[in-house]
């Protein structure tokens, strides 16, 4: 099938590969944090000391956040699929929904942490909890900003099937953010 060669050439896939390495470094940062968290928690449990105060960590907020982010994975897939098919309207709807779900997750987490009234310096557990969850909030906020930029590009007709690397890269980053939250959900909210 003959087609015209694009006049404004793009570099094939280098953006996605570079984003994969960047996302990998972010994941390893969280790997280090989780390693510290689980190690100190295991020591505390072995000595029989209390890790979190009774009732401080509740399952419902963590579960709601996990469900919110799980839905955002679907909307992100929708966005990638829409861009691949040059469906600008659906791409914009999907990106907006994904960003809104990310903002909802940030809102829920901030409300929860204001509500539990656990000072950041109350214990090692509290410090690590705020560090890990705070770092993840930053990750999600960066993802939302990235999606906002993509939305502007889509509005201007720049995210197309021929120039979709930025969308693929953002999707990869977003999936990584959700994967990190799944570890937070299991390791902190469920295991406590």
């Amino acid at each position: 099938m003959a087609s015209t060669i694009p006049t404004a050439p793009t570099r094939p896939r280098t953006l996605v590969v570079a984003s994969a390495f960047g996302t990998g470094s972010v994941l390893m940062y969280f790997g280090g944090l989780f390693a510290l968290y689980f190690s100190i928690r295991a020591d505390a449990m072995a000595w029989g000391t209390q890790w979190y105060p009774e009732g401080a960590i509740q399952l419902v907020p963590g579960g709601m956040n996990m469900a919110t982010l799980a839905m955002s994975v679907i909307t992100m897939c929708w966005a990638v699929h829409a861009v691949l098919n040059d469906d600008r309207v659906h791409a914009m709807i999907a990106m907006t929904l994904t960003a809104v779900l990310g903002i909802a997750m940030v809102n829920q987490t901030v409300f929860y942490f204001m509500d539990i009234g656990l000072p950041i310096d109350a214990s090692e557990a509290a410090t690590l909890l705020f560090t890990i969850v705070g770092s993840h909030l930053v990750m999600v906020v960066v993802g939302v900003l990235w999606l906002s930029m993509l939305l502007l590009r889509t509005l201007g007709g720049q995210d197309t099937s021929r120039d979709r690397d930025l969308v693929s890269a953002a999707a990869l980053y977003w999936y990584a953010a959700v994967a990190v939250y799944s570890v937070i959900w299991v390791g902190i909210y469920i295991a406590k």
């Binding site: 060669i5 694009p6 404004a8 050439p9 094939p12 896939r13 590969v17 994969a20 790997g31 021929r162």
Partner: protein
């Protein structure tokens, strides 16, 4: 088919996963803990096990990216796009200083968080400005296949915005830095400094205007050296502090005026 990149990264991932299991069982793991990621039994040393498991997952992700994007192969992309030939790669755009300035802005944000709010705000402003500049440079590099036309497109769009802003910032820096020098100098010294700085600026301006054939790089170099000298003098003056100001008349005389004294 499985690509070379996939085989490399996935091989690393499997090796690191085995290393995690090995590290677990040799550091006190129980039952099937290291195999089931702690589901049944302990995993041994949590630090080494968690880091190795995360590393294995990240390496596996690299492998999946490699196979999904066919190791970044342009021909595979052409196939997906339905083209006979692979799209040409972007032309060489040379080096860019925006990452360096962006890093300076981020560094200023970090330092400002610890030292002073003004430095933090300055860092935010620098990062925002670099973000705009970098975005526009990136846009201009894709306007066409001709680097000269791309640079012209960027200049046409950005120069009317950059020149007034940079001019305003330059005047502000000049005023603040020179005023610090005048405040740090003695009464007579301030007069001498003001005269010399004024004459130097006027002399250089006359020199440049008399030589219209002077290369642009030479004019830029003169301006750059001038800015560095003024900034350095201002910083040194701030470090040495202002001269003493004495109130004229007695200490109870509220109607007195400030006068400068040599010291």
């Amino acid at each position: 088919m499985l690509t070379t990149g996939f085989k490399l990264w996935f091989g690393f991932a499997v090796a690191v996963a085995f290393a995690a299991v090995f590290a677990g069982y040799t550091s006190g793991a129980t039952e099937t803990g290291p195999i089931s990621i702690g589901w049944k039994g302990g995993v041994g040393n949590h630090v080494s096990y968690t880091i190795l498991i995360f590393a294995s997952g990240v390496l596996a992700m690299f492998g999946l990216i490699a196979v999904a994007f066919r190791d970044g192969d342009a021909r595979a992309q052409a196939e997906v796009l339905g083209l006979d030939e692979a799209p040409a790669g972007q032309s060489d755009v040379g080096n860019s200083l925006w990452p360096v300035f962006g890093a300076l802005g981020i560094g200023a944000i970090g330092v400002g968080l610890v030292v002073h709010a003004a430095i933090f705000v300055l860092g935010l402003v620098v990062v925002a400005a670099i973000g705009v500049e970098w975005t526009m440079t990136n846009w201009s590099e894709k306007v066409s296949g001709d680097p000269a036309a791309n640079a012209e497109a960027r200049e046409n769009l950005m120069r009317p915005i950059e020149i007034p802003i940079l001019g305003t910032v330059g005047v502000a820096v000049l005023v603040v830095a020179v005023s610090r020098v005048l405040l740090a100098s003695s009464v007579n010294g301030a007069v001498v400094v003001a005269t010399l700085v004024g004459m130097a600026i006027f002399g250089l301006a006359v020199l440049v205007s008399q030589r219209p054939q002077m290369p642009r790089n030479a004019v830029r170099s003169i301006l750059f050296v001038g800015v560095v000298v003024v900034l350095a003098m201002g910083i040194l003056a701030v470090a040495s502090g202002e001269r003493e100001f004495h109130q004229k008349g007695s200490s109870t005389d509220h109607g007195g005026v400030d006068v400068e004294a040599d010291h």
